[in-house]
Structures are given as C-alpha cells and as structure tokens.
Amino acid sequence: MNVVVWLAEGTWQACVDAAAEVAPPSATITLLHVTDPALAEDVSDAFGGLMGRGTRGPDPGAAVGAAAARAQEELLAAAAARLDRPSSPVRRQGRLEREVVTAAEGADLLVVARDGPVTRLGPRSLNPPTRFVVDHAPCAVLLVWPTAPPPVDTIPPPPPHKAAPPPHKAAPPPHKAAPPPPPPP
C-alpha cells in the first residue's frame, strides 16, 4: 500500500498522525511537501518594479526562495520525526494543487488536511488548492481535521426554501410525501 501524505504549513501534524494510525506496517509512506515558487517570484518582481535600483543588488525574491527551501527541509524533517517510522520525503515546486495531484499518481491513499476555519463545520472548510486536490485526486483520499472537529451543531442552517425544485419529467412518482422543511433555527 502506497500512502502519500501531503504536508502543508499549519496542518501537517494532523496528516502525519492520521497516516501513522491508518497505514498498515507494510505500507510505504511518502511525505510530500510542495513549495509554490510564485511567492518568491512576485517578491522579485515587486523589487524589479522599483526603478533605478539596478539588477546586481540583493534580490529579496531569492532570499524568500532560499528561506522557503530551508522551511521545506525543516518541515520534512519534523514530519519524519513525528511519524517515527520509515518514510521517504518528496519535494516539489509548482502550483500546489497540480503538484499534489501529480504526486498522488499511483498511490493508494492520499492524506489531506482541511485548511479552512476550524471553529465550525463547513462551508468552505477547504481552501481552493485543497478543494482542487480532493476533486481531482487519482486515488482514495483521507480528509482529516487539523484540530479536534467542531461539534455538529455548528453546521450552518440550511438556506430557506424558496420554491420546490421543478419535478423531473422522467422521475418516477414519489412514493410518499416529501419530508416537511426543517424548522427555522
């Protein structure tokens, strides 16, 4: 069994813990971290946008890129230590969501953490890159909460019913009456 664990800043601990729990001893575990170089490039460009400073001076984008590489190593090392069983690190550069999907090719399980607000159950408990990964993953996905999940009563109330949905022509007649709309909160 191939398990890929996507490590992202702030939430990776929960993914490592979940992988340790569900992966059988025979499983090979890959610790994946992706750095998006766009951030460092944008800093570089913003500095380049200042006219007259020349091109030989210190490039803050390069400094950010170097700091990102260091942070990636530290994160992978910390994750390997936390997992405390054999694993192999994978470092990728590019758009987060695309790189994660590509890296999950051939895997049996991809472990991903929610990265939206943790004080309530949805909606939008996934930021866009994570949403993309869950949508496009080429394998089974284990989606974990980065912290203890919030209680069920934090789920937002359903939107008020404006009108019954139009019946589908080919739909079979309902066997019983539709359930009454839920009471307003």
């Binding site: 992202a8 800043e9 702030g10 939430t11 601990q13 766009a38 951030l39 490039e41 944008d42 800093v43 460009d45 913003a46 500095f47 380049g48 946008g49 200042l50 006219m51 007259g52 400073r53 020349g54 091109t55 030989r56 001076g57 210190p58 803050p60 400094a63 950010v64 700091a67 990102a68 260091r70 942070a71 530290e74 990265d115 939206g116 607000p117 943790v118 939008r124 930021n127 866009p128 980065p146 912290t147």
Partner: protein
C-alpha cells in the same frame, strides 16, 4: 520630439534591462546627449542637478541607514517581535506585520521594506507554521502604499518635498491622515482577500526572545527626531541621516575582521548607480518638460485643491505611475502642480499608491513580460494583479478624502 525619444529610450532600457545592465547605463548617456544636443542648456541642467543634490544625498544616506539597521539586527528583531506577539495566530501575525511594515517603510523607506523586511517576514511566518502569503504580500503592498507619511519614506516624496514648501513635520502632519487611511483600507482588503489562508490554524511554537538591538534602535530614533529638530536650525535632513549612518557604521567597521571589506559594503549600500540614475533622469525629463510636456500636463491638471481637483491629480498621477513608472511620473507631474502644494501631496498619493496595480513597475513592463512569456518567462502573477485591483482604487479614494480632511483641519496649507 528628440526629448520624447530620449526619455522613451531610458524607460525602455529600464524595462528590458539588456544583459542585466543598471538603468543608469542608459540614463547617463541620454542626459549627456540632452545637454550636448542642446535640448537642455547646460545652466538649466546644472540647476536641476543642484536642486536634486540634497534629494539624492538623502536617498543615499537612507539606503545606507537601512542596510546598517539590518547589519545591527533590527529586522531580525522585528521578525522575532512579530512571531511572539502573533502567538500562533495568522491574523494576529498579519496585523503585527502591517504595523511593522508601515513603520519600516515610513522611517527607512520602501527599499528597506521590500529588500530587508520581506525575507524576514517570510521566515517568521514559516517558523510560526503560518502560510506566509498574506504577510509577504502585505510587505510588498505596504512598501508602496505605506510610504506616504514622511519625506524619507519614498524617493517620490523626496523629489516632491521641496515643491511642497512644507517642513519635515509639516509634511508628516499633512500626510498622517492619508497614511492611516491607506493602511486601514489595505488591512481590510487583505483580511477579506486572504480569508482562506488566514483561517488555516497554525500550531504556535515557542519563540526564543531575541535581545533588542538597543544601540541601533536608539540611533534610529534619534535620527528620526533629528530630521524634525535640525531642520528649523538650517541643517538639511540629509546631513542628519548621514550622521545617523556614520554612528551606526563606525562600530561595525571597527569590530569587523576585514575592515576594508565592511567599509566598502556599507559604501556600496548607498547604491551610487541609483543616485546617478536619479540625476540623469532628472535632466532627461527636464529636456522633455522644456519642450512642451509642461504645457500638456498643465492642460490636464486642475488648478485648484478642491476635493475633485485632488482626486483628479491623484488619479492622473496613479495613471502616469502605471504607464511609465512612478519616479519619472513624479518628475513630470510635480513641477506642474507645484503652484498649489496641496496638489503636490495629491500627486504623491497617486504615484505612491498607484504602483501596486502594475506591481512590476509599469504597464510597459507587464506587456514586455507578456512578450517574454512566449519564451517561457513566467507571466504576471494573477494574485498580485487581483490584489492590486482590489486595493488601489479604494486606497486612492480613501487617501484623497483623508488629505482633503487634513487640508480643511490644517492651518499650514
């Protein structure tokens, strides 16, 4: 006509940057051609350079001061301070970074924020387990938008400072309200724009307290106070900044193992080529102004400092800053509106806040990058452009209204 070509050549060179040559490599010969070819009489060019002298001196001193503050560990200390006060919350970290970036930009100029503070902020966020995007973009945005407060905050302010006729404190007093307004708008937009990244929980990790670089902080505070105090006594702010830089530089050089190299590094941190570039660009723009540009800009700018007049000037300045770049835009605009100091301040709002829209410098640079993209150069960043669209118009409006209020309350202008 020739003057237009000269300026266009200088600006095109700055966009294309052939072989990574500095901008001065085109601007200095262009200035020589302008003088030699009779577009600008030598006496006028000399007067322009004499007028720019204190500005460029101030620029060099403030660049060195920021470099020295970094050598003394001021930025590392700021990063540690941010990490500790954030206590593991991405939103609190953003708030603290906003405060630090606004102060660093105001006191040590936008170069200090972009070059020295941004990498520290990234490392701070990464160490705190926080997604660094909001904080890093905050630095790049506040480098421009947070540079309204003091004449030292931005080269554009230095170039226009003389034309406002204000004292150092007077300038700060007029621009304080617009500065606060812009930062407030930026903060609100950032909270909304990066709501996803800011909502991601972070696990606070213990941060070792770093000792404050007291000597450097005291020297910086005294230098800042010196700007205000020395001016009525007839001492130029550039002299105060240079004095502060010398006080910070001497112990570093004395303590260094390789003194010559340390001293050279500090001397180079003044970026002499940048200083030459400002002189040369001043002369090239003067050639254009003497050949009809002043009349054209004068026809486009309103004459009175009403709210609409201020808005129009700020909008025109932002437009010019995005079309070419904010340094030439300032050189072109300020002399034309110098008759009304309030309009100079409005122009500064435009040239300082505007560049966040086409963050790579100008529309020309954006287009050039599109062309390069055909050769696998990364295209312009969508995040940056969307963030610019979300902030710049609102910031311009808020700042101009704040300036208008400040003008109504003020007795100086």
């Amino acid at each position: 006509m020739w003057a237009v070509l000269l300026l266009a050549a200088v600006l095109a060179f700055a966009v294309v940057r052939p072989r990574g040559l500095p901008e001065a490599a085109a601007a200095v010969p262009a200035a020589a051609i302008a003088i030699g070819g009779g577009l600008v009489p030598w006496s006028a060019a000399r007067d322009e350079m004499i007028m720019l002298g204190p500005t460029v001196g101030f620029l060099a001193a403030i660049l060195a001061l920021a470099h020295l503050a970094d050598a003394w560990g001021v930025f590392g200390y700021a990063g540690g301070l941010a990490a500790r006060s954030a206590r593991g919350s991405p939103t609190r970290l953003l708030t603290v970074v906003f405060g630090i970036a606004a102060v660093v930009t105001a006191v040590l100029s936008l170069d200090a924020t972009v070059v020295l503070l941004t990498p520290v902020v990234f490392a701070t966020a990464a160490a705190a387990g926080v997604r660094a995007r909001p904080q890093v973009y905050a630095c790049t945005h506040l480098a421009n938008a947070g540079s309204l407060l003091l004449p030292v905050s931005n080269l554009t302010n230095l170039l226009a400072f003389g034309a406002t006729g204000l004292t150092f404190l007077g300038f700060a007093g007029m621009m304080a309200l617009p500065w606060v307004a812009v930062i407030a708008v930026e903060y609100a937009v950032f909270r909304w724009f990066f709501a996803g990244d800011l909502a991601t929980p972070a696990r606070p990790s213990p941060v070792e307290p770093t000792p404050a670089p007291r000597f450097a902080l005291v020297v910086l505070a005294l230098t800042l106070a010196g700007f205000a105090v020395a001016e009525p006594m007839g001492v130029a702010p550039a002299v105060v900044a240079a004095a502060g830089a010398v006080v910070l530089a001497v112990p570093l050089v004395v303590r260094a193992t390789d003194r010559r190299r340390t001293a050279l590094g500090i001397a180079l941190s003044t970026n002499p080529l940048f200083c030459f570039f400002v002189f040369a660009l001043g002369v090239v723009v003067l050639a254009l102004r003497r050949n009809g540009l002043d009349d054209l800009i004068a026809a486009l700018t309103p004459g009175s400092a009403s709210l609409l007049g201020l808005l129009a000037v700020a909008g025109l300045a932002a437009l010019l800053a995005n079309l070419v770049n904010n340094v030439p835009a300032t050189l072109v605009l300020v002399p034309v509106v110098a008759h009304t100091p309030a309009l100079v301040l409005a122009a500064l709002i435009g040239v300082n806040v505007g560049p966040n829209l086409t963050y790579v410098g100008s529309l020309a640079t954006l287009l050039w990058r599109r062309i390069l993209h055909a050769r696998d150069e990364p295209p312009a960043s969508a995040v940056f452009l969307r963030l610019g669209l979300a902030t710049v118009p609102a910031c311009l409006l808020a700042a101009v209204v704040a300036l208008w209020v400040a003008l109504k309350l003020s007795t100086v202008l």
